[in-house]
Amino acid sequence: MDILNPIFFGFSVALQPFNLLFCFLGVLIGTLVGVLPGLGPVAAISLLLPATFHVPPVSSIIMLSGIYYGAMYGGSITSILVNIPGEAASVVTCLDGYKMAQKGRAGPALGIAAFGSFIAGTLGVIGLAFFAPPLAKVALKFGPPEYFALMVLGLTVLTFLAGGSMLKSLMMACIGVVIGNIGLDLITAQPRFTFGLDVLLDGVGLVPLVMGLFGISEVFINVEEKIGQREIFKTPLKGLLPSLKDWKQSFWPMIRGSVLGFFLGILPGGGAVISSFVSYGVEKKISKNPEEFGQGAIAGVAGPEAANNSATAGAYIPLFTLGLPSNAVMAILLGALMIYNMPPGPRLITSHPQLFWGTISSMYIGNFMLLILNLPLIGLWIRILRIPYPILFPLIILFCLIGAFSLNNNTTEIMLMLFFGVLGYLMKKFKYDGASLILAMVLGPLMDQSLRQSLLMSGGSGLIFFTRPICLAVFVMVVIIFLMPLLPLIGRMRKSVGTAEMD
C-alpha cells in the first residue's frame, strides 16, 4: 500500500482551495481554447505562463496542466458540432462524431466524449502514479551520454511523427538547437549568435517564440483566408447521457483507447494525435461492423477521445522522470519548471513531492471537473463557437501582445514575437514543422551540455555513445526510425497523421 500514501498526500495538496481554484481555471481555459479555432493549448499555455509567475509553482503547474487536458476535450466539441477539430488530436472525432450529430445524436456523441475523456484521464493518472516513480529510480543511473542519446531519440521520433517531410522537420530541429543555444555559453560565458543585441544575452525566450510560431502565425494564416461563416449544428441538443446500448458499444473501446493512449503518450512526439489515430484504426479493425465506422459509430468517438486524453497523462512520464519533454506543451512546462527553479528529472519526485503528486492528483480532480463542467456548459461553448473570427482574432493578438510584454515589461519581447510570427507564417506556407523547432529549442542547451560532458568523460572519444548498452540501444532505435519511412505501410500512416496535423 506504499503507493497509496503519496497519492493521499497528492490529494491533500490538490484539494487545497487555492489549488482547486487554479485547477478549475485551467480546465475552463483549456476547454475554451480547445473550442476556439486558431488558439491551441501550446499558445494558451505560453500566453498564461508569465501571469503564473506571481502564484506558487504547484498551483501554476496544476493550472497549466488543466489547460492541456481541458483543451483535448474542448477540441472534441468543435469536431462533433462543426466538423472542425479545435485540436489536432480531435481530427478523428470528426469522422464519426459529426456524422452522429447529423443523425440527431450530437448529445450522446458529446456525452460519450466527456465520459470517455474522464475514464481515460483517470486511468492515465493511475498509470502515471504507478509507472513514474520506478522509472525515475532507473533514470538516476543515467549519465550524460544516455541523456544525449534519449534527446536525439526524442527529436528523431518527433520528426518522424511530424508528418509532411521528415527532411524539413529535421532541418527545423537543427534550427531549434541553434536558437536554443543563443546567448551566453554556460561554460565559457561567451556570447553566441547575439549579434551585439543585449536582449539576446539571456537567450531567446520560449514564450515569444511559441506565441509567434503558434499564435500570431495562425492569425496571419486565417486572416488572409476568405472564410465563410461556420456552419454550426442547429438542432437542439437533447439527451446528453448516452443510452445503455451506447455504453455497451463504447466501454471496451474506451478502455483499449486509454491503455493505448497512455503508452503511446509516453513516446516522444505527438502522442495525443497518433494515439487517437491508432485507437480509431484498432476499433475499426476489431469491430463486428466496421462498415459503420465513418457513418456515426459511437465507438469511433469513444476510443479516440479516450486515447487522446490518457496520452496527455502519459506525456508527463518522460518530463517528470527524465526531464525530457515529449511534445511542445511539455517543452513549455519544462521551461516553466526551470523558471520556478524546480528542474525536472529523476530527482523531482523526491525533492518536490508536492509538485509531482499534487499535479497528478489535480489531474484526477480536473477530469472530474471537466465531466461536471462540460455536460451542463455545452450550450455556452456553442455560443462561444459563434463568435465571428473578425472579433476573435484581435483578441488573440491582444493576449499575445500582453503575454510577450509582461515577460520583462519590455517591447523588445513583442518585436521578437512578431519576428517569430512572420517566421511561423512562412514556415506554415512552405510546410515546415514548428513543433520540432520548439522541442529542439528547449532541448538545445541540454544537448549541448550533455554532449560536451560525455566527450569530456570519454577523453574526446565519440565511441562512448556506442559502448554503453543503453546508449547503443537508443541509437539503434534512432537508426530504425530513420529507416521506417521506407516501409510502405508506415510511410502511408505517417502521411495520414501528418496531413491531419497540417490541416
Binding site: A51, I175, F193, V219, F393, I402, R452, G460
Partner: protein
C-alpha cells in the same frame, strides 16, 4: 515557375553555412575539449547538408502545388502585411502612448480588417475589450502595463 522548396532550401542553406562559419568563430574547440560553438557547428553543418538534399530533390517536383506563387493565390495576403505594420507601430508607441490608448486604437483598426461593423460598434467593442484587459491583467494579475500619457491619472 519558381519552386517553393527550391527557394526555401536556398534560404536555409545560406543560414546553415552562416551558422557553421559563426560557430567556428565562437570556438569549435576539439573533441577532447569542446568549445562554445561545438554543437551549433554540427547543427549548422547538418542544416546545410539537409538543405542541399532538399534543393536537389525539389528539382524533381513539378506541378502547380510546388509553385511559389500558388502559396498566395486567391488569398488576401495584403491584410497580413497591414496587420504586421499595425503591430509594429503599436510596439513603437506602446510605452509613450500607454496601454489604454495604444490598445484602444489598435483594436479599432484590427476590428475593421475583416469585419464590416459600424463605427459605433467597433468603438464600443474596442473600449470594452481594452478596459476588460486592463482590469484582468493590470488590476487582477498585477502585470505592469505602460501608462504612457495617462501616467499619474490612473
Amino acid at each position: 515557375m519558381l519552386n517553393s522548396d527550391r527557394i526555401s532550401s536556398l534560404f536555409w542553406l545560406a543560414a546553415g553555412i552562416g551558422i557553421t562559419l559563426l560557430s567556428i568563430k565562437y570556438d569549435f574547440g576539439n573533441f577532447l575539449s569542446p568549445g562554445a560553438g561545438f554543437i551549433t557547428f554540427f547543427a549548422g553543418a547538418l542544416l546545410s547538408l539537409l538543405s542541399l538534399i532538399l534543393f536537389i530533390s525539389s528539382g524533381k517536383k513539378r506541378g502547380p502545388q510546388s509553385d511559389l506563387k500558388a502559396l498566395w493565390k486567391g488569398l488576401d495576403w495584403k491584410k497580413v502585411v497591414y496587420i504586421l505594420i499595425l503591430l509594429f507601430i503599436y510596439t513603437l508607441v506602446l510605452k509613450p502612448l500607454g496601454f489604454l490608448i495604444g490598445t484602444f486604437l489598435l483594436l479599432i483598426f484590427l476590428f475593421k480588417v475583416k469585419g464590416s461593423y459600424s463605427w459605433w460598434k467597433v468603438l464600443l467593442l474596442a473600449f470594452l475589450i481594452t478596459s476588460g484587459a486592463f482590469l484582468l491583467f493590470q488590476v487582477w494579475l498585477k502585470v505592469q502595463l505602460p501608462k504612457g500619457v495617462l501616467e499619474g491619472m490612473i
